[in-house]
């Protein structure tokens, strides 16, 4: 973990940014909002063609066997584009959990198909009442009373539950607990924490988009004979958004890297990342809508597509309160804060 992306990773970011700029415009996001819109899988297949869905699948299962940094880049860009597909759930939750904890049979059945873009997977964890893209998912990680299950579509019961973000196609998923679908105990904590870290990265992308939209608007919109972006009140609101979002990002990068690096702070790092990204998203939501003024309250303007994606993700994979408490519990129960959270001597030889 060096907090610096390689040129190849920066290329991947540009590829994703380009693909989404063409195929995931605001108009495309709106199309996904339409009531009864069928899930259009063409963009998902394009993502697979570009290797996005194979990135962190092991080569033994037709994947590329790359690390989490590639995933990080893709998640941020998915948020930036308000992507209406479950990249977060499929690539950042289901793939790693399946890879690390799935049975040989589960892995062989699902990983190659995911890498090929044939599977939309989702997850419904914690006390989350619904799964995003639950209406269309081919595969779901479900937290049931007896633990975590990997449940294929044919065993799922779906009850549609519209989200305020109409592009998320949420549904409450149910399944009968079955030993055949159940994953080992350790999988649950990993799924939750990975979900939180990945949601943080997506949220940071959402917030960056809100910021970019508001900055562009503040440069262009004039009142009192000058761009509103020249007023200190507006400037400082946007500087505060930039501060929170940009400082939040590396915490998510780190959290996403913790599992591969076998770090003991994976769970706490993920909570911190999600808490930071959520707080930044709240600031971004308030200040960018305020800068837009009345126009931001119209359905016609695109801002709300990102405002609502942000609001939906605030509650996903644990609320701000949930993660603050988890971290606060760790502060109280840790015998020595410096030993737990401070710099450690590497034991690597």
């Amino acid at each position: 973990m060096t907090y610096a992306f390689t040129p190849e990773q920066e290329d991947l970011r540009r590829t994703a940014r380009d693909l989404f700029a063409r195929t995931c415009t605001a108009a495309d996001v709106r199309a996904a909002w339409e009531p009864g819109a069928e899930q259009d899988r063409s963009r998902w297949r394009r993502m697979a063609d570009l290797g996005f869905l194979a990135a962190n699948v092991p080569t033994a299962f037709d994947g590329m066997g790359l690390g989490d940094a590639e995933l990080t880049v893709l998640l941020e860009e998915a948020g930036y584009a308000a992507l209406p597909e479950p990249l977060l759930e499929t690539a950042a939750v289901v793939v790693p959990v399946l890879r690390e904890h799935g049975s040989a049979e589960q892995r062989a059945r699902w990983l190659p198909r995911i890498a090929a873009g044939e599977v939309l997977a989702t997850a419904q964890l914690l006390d989350a009442p619904v799964a995003p893209y639950g209406t269309v998912a081919d595969l779901a990680l479900l937290e049931l009373e007896d633990g975590l299950h990997l449940v294929p579509a044919e065993r799922l019961t779906r009850e549609q539950a519209p989200s305020m973000d109409g592009a998320r196609h949420t549904a409450a998923l149910r399944a009968v607990p079955d030993p055949a679908t159940r994953l080992p105990g350790a999988a649950l904590a990993e799924a939750r924490a990975r979900g939180a870290a990945a949601a943080a990265a997506v949220l940071n992308g959402v917030s960056r988009r809100l910021l970019d939209m508001a900055v562009a608007y503040a440069k262009e919109r004039e009142q009192f004979g000058r761009p509103i972006g020249s007023f200190q009140a507006v400037k400082h609101m946007l500087a505060e958004v930039a501060l929170e979002v940009e400082t939040s990002r590396p915490a998510a990068w780190y959290a996403l890297s913790t599992w591969a690096e076998g770090r003991p702070d994976a769970v706490l790092a993920s909570s911190a990342a999600k808490a930071a990204a959520t707080a930044a998203a709240v600031t971004a939501s308030y200040h960018t809508l305020q800068v837009h003024g009345g126009i931001g309250f119209t359905w016609e303007h695109d801002l709300h597509l990102w405002l609502k994606r942000g609001k939906a993700l605030e509650g996903a994979y644990g609320s701000l309160r949930h993660h603050h408490r988890l971290l606060g519990d760790a502060v109280i129960s840790s015998p020595d804060l410096m030993a737990t959270f401070g710099p450690t001597l590497s034991t690597a030889s």
């Binding site: 973990m1 060096t2 907090y3 610096a4 992306f5 390689t6 990773q9 940094a69 990080t72 910021l211 900055v215 440069k219 000058r226 761009p227 972006g229 020249s230 200190q232 400037k235 400082h236 946007l238 500087a239 505060e240 930039a242 501060l243 940009e246 400082t247 939040s248 990002r249 590396p250 915490a251 990068w253 780190y254 890297s257 591969a260 706490l268 790092a269 909570s271 911190a272 808490a275 930071a276 707080a279 309160r321 993660h323 603050h324 408490r325 988890l326 971290l327 606060g328 519990d329 760790a330 502060v331 109280i332 804060l337 410096m338 959270f341 401070g342 710099p343 001597l345 590497s346 690597a348």
Partner: protein, 391 residues
């Protein structure tokens, strides 16, 4: 962020182990009181010489000047371990971080040989002469004048917020050599011997009744023109290079704030608030901030090592100064009614220090460019928003 670069590099990990072992063996038992006067000052000087002898005084200086030529990541590792060990406050950062690099870039060979080793060995203490009563946020509005007279500049005026001014041997200063309206185009950067006749240093008592800052008055102070760094009237650029250091990463690491959090936890435990969910939520919020700062510094270091240093340094100063204020506010909230008491040291160790630190936790929101100035910088130079009209 490739898989090949997991965790700290082996070199860094070894460096960390070396520093930790050395500090464990060398940091004075019980630390040192904050540097003030007389004997205490000498203990600090002794500590600085210990660092020097071990080769740790100036990690960032090039080897040719007696430093280690260390990269930023190694310096951050050192700083983290230094804070972790509770080692004494560094007393000559003005010389090491600010004056030194300026001298290396602008000084003559003779000047380098005279000043640099004395900084390294802590023979010369340095102070900064930038701020004036009328020039705070608006640094370019400074009025301390310097008139060329033969081979000297004759300096008249006043500096303020001069940290360590009472004990300093040298000051690096900005003075006005242009006309009063010349703004940043009429400023010269010059080194002033603090023992020159005409200099009067008066300590400022702070809000917590301690001293630390000074006012420095200049009356017909003669400074050799040879002490000018860069061009006459060209000092603004020199100073801005120095200031960038003040705002960037490395001034404090997350370890300092983790120490603060540990102190709050001691208060929480002593006052029986461990099971309070709202208190736990506060602690979780602070741990989030400390974690974010840690990784933000990590990113800043990675960017800097790839040659990218920009106005984003303002993020660093804004983030830690606001977090620092927030941490101290939460600590006071835990102390509640006890927060006003100044003799709780026995029943509640750390409480009195916390109070002093509380008031001082507001100061970083102002010094090194107020946070309002930092937000201006971010909005204009990072986000590209238009400047305000000026009149």
């Amino acid at each position: 962020m490739t898989t090949g670069q997991q965790q700290e590099s082996r070199a860094l990990a070894e460096w960390r182990a070396e520093i930790r072992a050395w500090l464990e063996a060398n940091v004075p038992e019980g630390g040192l009181p904050d540097p003030e006067a007389g004997a205490i000052l000498e203990e600090h000087r002794a500590w600085e010489r210990t660092l020097f002898e071990a080769g740790y005084a100036a990690l960032h200086w090039p080897v040719e000047y007696g430093g280690k030529g260390a990269d930023l990541d190694a310096r951050i590792v050192f700083q983290e371990e230094y804070e972790r060990a509770g080692a004494p406050l560094r007393m000559n950062l003005g010389g090491l971080m600010l004056a030194g690099p300026t001298i290396m870039k602008y000084g003559t060979l003779e000047q380098k040989e005279f000043w640099l080793p004395a900084i390294l060995r802590c023979d010369h203490l340095w102070c900064q002469g930038f701020s004036e009563p009328g020039a705070g946020s608006d640094l370019a509005g400074l009025r301390t004048s310097a008139v060329v007279d033969g081979e000297d500049l004759v300096v008249n005026g006043q500096k303020i917020w001069t940290s360590g001014g009472l004990h300093a041997d040298w000051m690096f200063a900005m003075v006005r050599t242009g006309d009063p309206q010349s703004g940043h185009r009429g400023i010269t950067y010059v080194m002033i011997d603090m023992r020159t006749p005409g200099i009067d240093v008066r300590p400022i008592t702070q809000i917590n009744r301690q001293t630390g800052f000074c006012e420095v008055f200049f009356t017909d102070v003669r400074v050799p023109l040879a002490n000018v760094m860069g061009e006459l009237d060209g000092g603004w650029q020199v100073a801005m290079e120095a200031l960038a250091h003040e705002r960037g990463a490395g001034r404090r690491t997350y370890v300092t704030f983790l120490n603060d959090l540990a102190q709050i936890r001691r208060f929480v435990t002593a006052l029986g608030q461990e099971d309070d969910t709202a208190v736990r939520e506060d602690l979780g919020r602070l741990l989030t901030a400390v974690t974010v700062y840690r990784h933000h510094v990590g990113r800043t270091v990675a960017d800097a090592m790839r040659g990218h240093v920009g106005p984003e340094a303002s993020y660093n100063k804004l983030y830690w100064s606001e977090m620092n204020a927030q941490i101290h506010e939460v600590g006071m909230r835990v102390l509640a009614g006890r927060a006003e008491l100044q003799d709780d040291e026995k029943s509640l160790p750390g409480a009195e220090k916390w109070q002093d630190a509380y008031w001082f936790s507001r100061a970083p929101r102002i010094f090194a460019g107020t946070n309002q100035i930092q937000k201006n910088i971010i909005s204009e130079r990072v986000l590209g928003l238009p400047k305000e009209p000026r009149r």
